[in-house]
Point group: C2
């Protein structure tokens, strides 16, 4: 559609305005509908460079627009996607030891902060304990099967879990 302000292009403002007038592209509207209807968002991905693969980051960038996911003074505990849960479930290349507090990669919680706090908490979405499978490439077939079984088991009682603490203390203490 037309630009709200074609003299000074601002991506955030344009998507916000497009959202308000129902002018976002169809694929985004469909994704937003899925988010709106969901009680729980599970993001499953391989960790690439301490973060989500670009295609999933692009989903965050494009779908969670102002007006839909947050708004002026409506962020963090006041975010627009309240009463929803999220869960980051991912595999890593590095070992658990590398992602320990004394490990060379640094505590895995440092990796979780931008995703869990910076994105989900910002939108008002609560976060369940992340589900991390360390280095499935480098473990035995038996261990890989155990990882799948553990995930299957966890899914069965997921609805009974309480969200984790959203404060910086959870991540950096």
């Amino acid at each position: 559609g037309h630009l709200h302000n074609s003299e000074a292009f601002n991506y955030g403002v344009e998507t916000w305005e497009a959202y308000k007038r129902g002018g976002l592209s169809k694929d985004l509207v469909e994704e937003q509908k899925k988010v709106q209807e969901a009680d729980l968002l599970i993001f499953q991905f391989p960790l690439f460079w301490f973060s989500m693969p670009a295609i999933l980051k692009g989903w965050m960038d494009r779908v969670l627009v102002q007006g839909f996911a947050y708004d002026l003074s409506k962020a963090y505990d006041g975010g627009l996607l309240q009463d929803k849960l999220s869960l980051f479930s991912f595999t890593t290349g590095g070992s658990q030891e590398m992602y320990s507090n004394e490990g060379i990669s640094g505590d895995i919680r440092y990796v979780l902060w931008p995703m869990q706090h910076g994105i989900m908490h910002f939108c008002g979405v609560k976060v369940l304990e992340p589900h991390i499978c360390y280095a499935p490439e480098n473990v035995s077939e038996e261990k890989r099967k155990e990882m799948l079984t553990a995930w299957t088991q966890r899914l069965k009682t997921l609805w009974k879990e309480e969200p984790i603490d959203c404060s910086p203390e959870w991540y950096f203490k």
Copy 2:
């Protein structure tokens, strides 16, 4: 080209093998050539969701492949892109106060960790002090001009700067 292992597709292995046999797509080879020739990589972007916009994350995901940027036991101080410098220069939506240690977004250094440590340091690239313009949308025209002037000034003496400390202490202490 053909897959190295078509029975169990592994993105990391395939790009690594493609790199070794010179089979990466042309655009990636060109980007890698630019990186190889550069002494300093400046990444300039608007901060989206505590991180790079997806298109820049995709550049990291696709260009910095194993064999080129790092290898088995060749990561962090042993990374393959040594003797290079990098600098993350970005604008934010949130104010400096929000990104202070006591701010609601949390210390801006938590945002820097995955990019500076998780990507650049992993590849052996040293990191200069980041250049951050906070909330240019919400400041006066005069302030915006000052931001540009400050950046111009900094660029003049950039080659005299020393890299920052790469340790977790820089980020989390």
